[in-house]
Symmetry: C2
């Protein structure tokens, strides 16, 4: 049994390890055009921030460790063509410029995603960065240490994480977001609160400007030194980081006749099968579906990639298993502000045919007399007709992600808001108020859904 | 409509407020033999610890605030008899020694619980404290400030909370526990880990001795100065705190012919009705039932009391509502160690007729390269035959209570371990590893339950 895996960050690396455990005798080759394998891309902002000194902390497992399990990892080897009819892939060795064909019985595509690069004038200037790989992390951190002013283009998860990292390294940062809101994965009401709370942080050394489209970078042979926007503003910079979203790496799949989904990522069955026999796909290059709405979704996150890698391996190795879909749970932090959500936003819920009702509550995360009691803002969304919980969003300096994981479990179990209100959540003054904010929110939301007997 | 409420800490105070909202014209009288009403008894350890200076922070709502809502709160008024046949209660004014009869249409008993005082020689000595009321809190805190050595008798929740409080105030503390384990609400394997982890804390200024029964206090007119145990040990002390558990205040209910449950607390229907018409009970004096096993349970916690107070008020006021039972969720902290559990322990599960299987995992609570990554130990319990999740326990310096609330929701929804494994929990390096420890535990536990197709 010959298993070939393309890509090796999270999903590919997980798939390789799992295949080995399932089939001790299989021949497993993993090809990646990357210089590293099996690393925590999600950890890059925390490396840049200076939480740890050695970038090798980001590496989960080395090629040598894979080799000990007879998994052959080929770094800087780009698979440039899949030949499904003869079950081969064409591999180019980027180091010595050689090329060769490799047979597979089962192929697992885990090509991931890459930063979206908007069409901005002079984007090729030095010190205009995107972030995905280990060498990006190293280069950005080195430049950060000798810079004073930076612009970050884009205010999604990576944008706000890098904002904190840069500021903690002493930079003054201007974050420019084209849309009306940063963190637009949240409903607009919550996204507005995020911006307001970030801008209200004391002694902040950053600006967040929304509705600002970058039109041009200015610079010379030394690199970028200015950023111009459509509103006519101009910013002096030592460096720029583009965090304008990511796109799935699917060209090789398209070329092989593999179908994409409506999100632009590879369409897979719950068994992670593509439309071509014996070709599986997993990780940031595949489309997921939402557990609640069953609608296609694309959430390139390490947690999903890991599970999908496992699932693809199970099925490729002949142990059928179905991926249960995703709720869309995610979390991040920017300074003391935690932002987390799960399930459908109010907007997504309406699009999926529900009649969403919602509530936003502002509460302490623990009893008010505890010295570290902090505020959290929770939004809870349910279907008016059935009372089914659809999603939730949490923001605050307080313990927010705890509440969102609790809620994710309620979504997984398809609880109604009334059923959820009966939850017995832990209580002690250092951990929560007597009645958890989630239950406060549920109690109000219950009054907005139709009554059932 | 005349509503009389006996007791006013958590359940009674909540019931009074809820009755007023439901019935704006009802006559509401609340009698308590206590000197305060509507306070956070759970907050006393944090007051003693010095998290805040003013004990009034513990007070949720004053008699004056109640009076503004036409709720008449009568402090230091002891209800000494209930006369169900003529629907009256006998009230004794403890201040002026007067007594009078009060009519009720609906009576709500919220008499709470009191510390259990074991039969120890010379227990009446000065500076031997128990803790329940505000004046206990004030007296203990004052004595703590001028003491050097203390013994705490009993290692349950309050015992370990007060241990931390005393040590943070500069005392050397010896905690003596009669049983083989402290925190015996946990399974023995986890209780042992709690003790080991507490004893492993650096620079601890306390001892925890298990299997030590206190037999005698020694002292003089100045108060206690020594503690003797059955093993022949002797400890010099300036003060002693007895935290040997609590017992429900049910004598007045017994005298009135109100039935108790097998736990010794008042037996109520899910509508918080006692066996006598128009008499409801709620809070620490009533018996709950476990949502999973339906078995009687007695968990005198502020969170339960609050919900029961609300439920009793709903039903007393003619708005039928059923209390859904409890999972047995609770949490506390001792120094950096969080201890939390929900559902059935392995022992309780076996007693309830399940065939429990379990797993214990040791994991980081977040990605290991984050500077504040800490260990957590999670125990997950399921039924072997059905895979139904039955309970979980978490201990650690890491973020444990988040996991237990997530699990509580799974128990509420009656998820199997296999269903739970599909959970989509939030991931980012500052918040959790890529695969949450809960899912690691679930994955292992799945291999221990019978397979179903």
């Amino acid at each position: 049994m010959k298993i070939v895996i393309i890509g090796g960050v999270a999903a590919g690396a997980k798939a390789a390890a799992k295949c080995r455990r399932l089939l001790p005798d299989a021949e497993i080759n993993l090809y990646t055009d990357d210089t590293h394998v099996s690393y925590s891309a999600c950890g890059i902002p925390y490396y840049v921030e200076g939480n740890f000194e050695d970038y090798q902390m980001l590496l989960v497992r080395s090629p040598e460790e894979f080799a000990q399990q007879n998994i052959y990892v080929h770094l800087e080897h780009k698979v440039s063509k899949i030949l499904p009819a003869c079950k081969k892939v064409l591999v180019e060795n980027l180091k010595d410029k050689s090329a060769f064909l490799v047979d597979y019985d089962k192929l697992i595509i885990a090509t991931g995603a890459r930063p979206f690069v908007p069409p901005i004038k002079n984007i090729a200037l030095n010190n205009v960065f995107t972030v995905r790989r280990i060498e990006d992390a190293i280069a950005i951190r080195e430049k950060v240490k000798i810079s004073k002013n930076a612009v970050i283009v884009g205010g999604g998860y990576i944008g706000v994480e890098m904002l904190e990292a840069f500021v903690r390294q002493g930079l003054h940062v201007t974050l420019l977001e084209r849309d009306e809101h940063i963190m637009s994965i949240f409903d607009k009401d919550m996204a507005q609160i995020i911006k307001d709370q970030l801008m209200a942080l004391p002694d902040r050394n950053f600006e967040i400007l929304t509705g600002e489209t970058v039109t041009e970078f200015i610079g010379d042979n030394n690199g970028v030194n200015g950023v111009k926007t459509s509103s006519g503003r101009e910013f002096e910079v030592d460096m720029v980081l583009i965090c304008a979203g990511v796109v799935p790496n699917v060209q090789i799949a398209i070329d092989a006749g593999i179908a994409l989904g409506s999100t632009g990522a590879i369409k897979v069955t719950p068994r992670m099968e593509t439309n071509i026999t014996d070709i599986y796909a997993c990780g940031d290059c595949v489309q997921e579906f939402n557990t609640i709405s069953k609608a296609p979704m694309w959430m390139p996150l390490g947690s999903n990639a890991n599970k999908e890698g496992r699932c693809a391996a199970m099925n490729a190795c002949g142990f059928p298993e179905e991926f249960a879909g995703i709720l869309g749970s995610s979390v991040t932090r920017c300074f003391r502000l935690t932002m987390s959500l799960t399930g459908l936003t109010e907007k997504q819920a309406a699009e999926a045919g529900f009649e969403p009702v919602s509530v936003i509550v502002n509460k302490y995360d623990k009893v008010g007399y505890m010295p570290d009691a902090s505020n959290i803002t929770l939004k809870l969304i349910a279907d008016k007709k059935t009372g089914l919980l659809l999603g939730g969003q949490g923001i605050g300096a307080g313990d927010t992600d705890k509440r969102i994981n609790t809620l994710a479990t309620a979504l997984l179990a398809k609880l109604t808001v009334e059923e959820f209100f009966n939850n017995d959540l832990t209580y002690a003054p250092p951990f929560s108020p007597t009645i958890d904010p989630l239950l406060n929110a549920a109690q109000i939301l219950m009054t907005k859904v139709d009554k059932h007997d």
